[in-house]
């Protein structure tokens, strides 16, 4: 089950089964932060980092829970680890780069409730990946998330110059664009195999 090659895991997570456009994970930041290209890129970076850290920790926790035979604690311990990672990243960024901290604003703590991160931890456990595979999987998912966010932000920046009927403005048009993006990502389906 877990003998996939690293490259195919990466391709799978980033393009073929893109977390946002195929699994619908992390829709909230996808709709909320995709207004401007710059914030979208930074948000993508932060999410990538949290994904990497929580993927490694989730692997460790899973091994530990297996050892003490308490699988029912999985969900609770994952969410605690993710919440503390986000807290850590927040403190780190605040100390190292106050400008970036201010630019990310409220979206930084909200990474905790980004389902893409918890989803990643759960999927890698279900698929039985080893440590290296988990890290590559996390990297792929993070790149895929950032890619979707940047594509969306680019389209929305262009859209501001176009005339959109009043009733379609806001979430509705964003969802339609997401639908079309998702359709075009279906084209990657033949890549991995």
């Amino acid at each position: 089950m877990s003998d996939d090659s690293l490259w195919s895991i990466f391709l799978n997570a980033s393009l073929i089964n893109n977390f946002v456009l195929a699994y619908f994970l992390g829709i909230c930041p996808f709709l909320g932060v995709s207004g401007k290209l710059e914030t979208a890129t930074r948000m993508g970076g932060a999410v990538c980092f949290v994904m990497l850290v929580s993927s490694v920790s989730a692997y460790g926790i899973h091994q530990f829970l297996l050892a003490i035979n308490a699988p029912y604690l999985q969900l609770i311990s994952y969410i605690v680890v993710i919440a503390s990672t986000v807290q850590l990243v927040e403190m780190f960024i605040k100390k190292m780069s106050p400008t970036l901290f201010r630019a990310l604003g409220i979206f930084l703590p909200l990474i905790t409730t980004n389902c893409a991160i918890l989803g990643l931890a759960l999927f890698q456990t279900n698929k039985g990946y080893n440590l290296l595979q988990s890290v590559v999987y996390a990297l792929g998912a993070g790149v895929g998330f950032t890619l979707a966010l940047i594509l969306m932000a680019g389209i929305r920046e262009k859209l501001e110059l176009a005339t959109v009927p009043e009733i379609v403005q806001g979430t509705a048009i964003t969802l339609m664009i997401a639908g079309i993006l998702s359709l075009s990502f279906m084209g990657f389906a033949g890549l991995g195999a």
Binding site: G26, T113, L175, S182, M186
Partner: protein, 220 residues
Amino acid sequence: MTGSDSAGSTGRTPTTDEFIKGLWRENPVFVQVLGMCPVLAVSNSAINALAMGLATTFVIVLSNTLVSTLRNFIPKQVRIATFILIIATFVTVVDYLIQAISLDIHRALGAFISLIVVNCLILGRAEAFASRNGVGRSILDGLGMGVGFTFALLCLGGVREILGNGTLFGAAVFPSGFQPWIVMILPSGGFFTLALWLLLFNRLRARQAHRQATLAEAAP
């Protein structure tokens, strides 16, 4: 029945309103646009949508109850972490419950049952309502939001299953010559269907606002 134990903020509105507002006026999906991930992901058939809606309702009612009971004991600084822990506990319960009731549904919903933890709707209700109101009101609020969420999921799941598979709850709707629209079952179908439902809701609200404006104009 619970007007007396509500701790302040919204003590005036009638109690039944806490239930009804979640169904339509503050519908979590169509109006507040919260909890999108499960809405899009599991609405490819009506039965999945119903199961997900019921599971979410269960979690939201219980977490609202517990948060509201403990609201005076939870320190302000760690409240979000505490809420998440409470929610995660109930989601674990619901996960094992579904596994015990129907393995098929558990397999179809997959990781999305566990992902109820990060549904912003539940955390949002805990923070915005249950931590400020009495137990009875919080239960009603949770119930209303849960039913509204289930209703929205069914709207999406029904449309996607009818068009994408020609069936509703597994029973054929169209005569045998019907060619299913595969795109509705694919992920992109979820985005399109939700966009169309949002359009419908925007239209209804715009018309209501227009009618109220003309009424106000007609009045002297």
